[in-house]
């Protein structure tokens, strides 16, 4: 489904601030894979996502999504096939526009001059009801009035309204309170599994990294140091994971926000 081949990216090359964010990284995802990613600070997790989503062009290497070479495609064209959630719940929706207007943009059906129809509204209402947050009765309210958790759930709905080929979740529950995070995670699970969307999820919760999905990657210094799936992963504990990381990276996992439980 997704094929990254020898992708590298260096920021500020040739200056004192030079940062090799991705170094010769290759990655292959099968259709329907749900991959969790953990890694130390500055390991390149977000850079990897930005490279896949097209925020910048990689310095070298190629990116192929579902047989289509997207290496030089601008981000707004990639977003047709790639849904994305950030840690900041405010980044995914327009605060001064209503819930239904935000959804209308995300749904993106119809031509440039099409208006919202009654059928669209029914569709939005049904989908919002699935979030079980009462948003279906607030469709004409500006999104800026919603809480962080509600906005993140809405963003998730927007990103998957037309199921994308690839979903990128960049610590999308990290800024939410534990109960809301739990809820958003449950919604994530049901949406991803329901549509069999190939997904990459960065998390700093080690337990979650092993529990969710079918494969776990560990990143360090711009590369992938550990890739576990199947039986090996099923038997793994958080302690095993940390030990494996030390073996692969040659140092302890130093993420200042890591949750071990």
């Amino acid at each position: 489904m997704l094929e990254l081949t020898h992708v590298s990216k260096t920021f500020n090359p040739g200056t004192v601030n030079e940062k090799k964010a991705l170094i010769d990284l290759s990655l292959h995802l099968d259709p329907g894979d749900f991959v969790t990613i953990i890694g130390s600070n500055g390991a390149g997790k977000s850079t990897l996502f930005n490279a896949i989503a097209g925020d910048f062009m990689a310095d070298s290497g190629s990116i192929v999504l579902d047989g289509k070479d997207i290496t030089f495609l601008p981000s707004h064209k990639r977003s047709k096939d790639i849904g994305r959630l950030f840690q900041d719940p405010m980044r995914g929706s327009a605060p001064h526009m209503t819930i239904e207007e935000n959804l209308a943009l995300a749904a993106g059906s119809g031509g440039w001059f099409s208006h919202l129809t009654a059928a669209d509204r029914t569709r939005f209402r049904d989908q919002l009801a699935l979030l079980d947050m009462g948003l279906e009765d607030r469709m004409r309210q500006p999104v800026g009035l919603l809480s962080g958790g509600q906005r993140q759930a809405l963003t998730l709905l927007m990103a998957t309204f037309c199921p994308p080929k690839l979903l990128l979740l960049d610590e999308h529950t990290a800024a939410l309170d534990p109960a809301t995070a739990e809820k958003v995670l449950a919604i994530t699970k049901s949406v991803v599994e329901g549509n069999r969307i190939t997904t990459l999820m960065v998390t700093h919760n080690m337990h979650q990294a092993l529990e969710m999905g079918n494969r776990t990657l560990m990143m360090n210094a711009g590369g992938i140091v550990l890739d576990v799936s199947g039986e090996q992963r099923a038997k793994m504990t958080v302690a095993d994971l940390l030990a494996q990381f030390k073996l692969g990276a040659g140092k302890d996992l130093d993420n200042d926000r890591i949750l071990l439980s």
Binding site: P74, S75, H76, K77, S79, K80, G83, R84, R91, G92, S93, A94, P95, H96, M97, E101, N102, A104, L105, A106, G108, G110, G111, W112, F113, S114, H115, L116, M158, A159
Partner: protein
Amino acid sequence: MLTVATAALELGLVYSLTVLALFLSYSMLNVCDLSTDGCFTLGAAVGAVVAVSGHPGLSLVAAMAAGVLSGFVTALLQTKMGINSLLAGIIVNVGLYSVNMAVLGGSPNINMNKTTTIFSTVKSLLADTPLAPFSDILVGAVAAALVIAFLSLFLNTRLGLSIRATGDNPDMVRSSSVNPAFTTIVGLCVSNAFTGLSGCLLGQMQKSMDVNIGQGVVTIALASLLIGSTLLGRGPIPLRAFGMVVGAFIFRLVYAIALRLHMPAFMLKLVSSVIVVLALSIPYLKGQWPVLKRRLAYRSAVRKEGR
């Protein structure tokens, strides 16, 4: 007093088209379009030249087309050539001075006393009806109503929603598979069409135009916009757009009353600047006030303790 109100309404309606243009570029796209002055003059110049050559109807279309072109250049500079949006507006504004002089054939003004314009046409149509004294107002009102109707429909289409989202959260526009550069270009083309039309109508209403007709229009329109959004800033688009017209009228009314009270006419631009400064700074200063209050209280407490 009635004549003051009538004059304010005539001018307010014609200028309200520029306010509606800024409503699109400033309030929706979040771009402060400083090419407005030059574009307003461009519309007036093109409109005057075409009207003088005997095509009053075509003059309106030509003025709008000229506005679209000007908006397109401004948008291109900021989206495709990496020029800061404020600077792009200033550059286009300066360049347009030469363009406007060229359109006017090198002379700084045009007299339209004997020219058939949309205003003179409507006036002769209404000649023997009770509406006759209000023909200028009628033309302005119809133009403003059409622009409001257009914006109300347009801003709720998918393209319109994309334009609004571009000013609100460009990241989100990109993730909806829409290029924010494209929406910025479309938005500025449409808004400058209205600015051009506004200039064209003002020239034809006053039966003369000179190359300085647009000077300071951006500040005047911004002041009207801020008055309008203070009064009708929330709610559906048609109401907010109507608020822009109300803002333009109130601005003109206050100005006309001030003139009656012997304020010299040359004070107009200072008044508009002061209104804009007040409207933009008051919300900010309001936010700063609690900290300032606490600092003063803190200082006086420290002083009392004799430290």
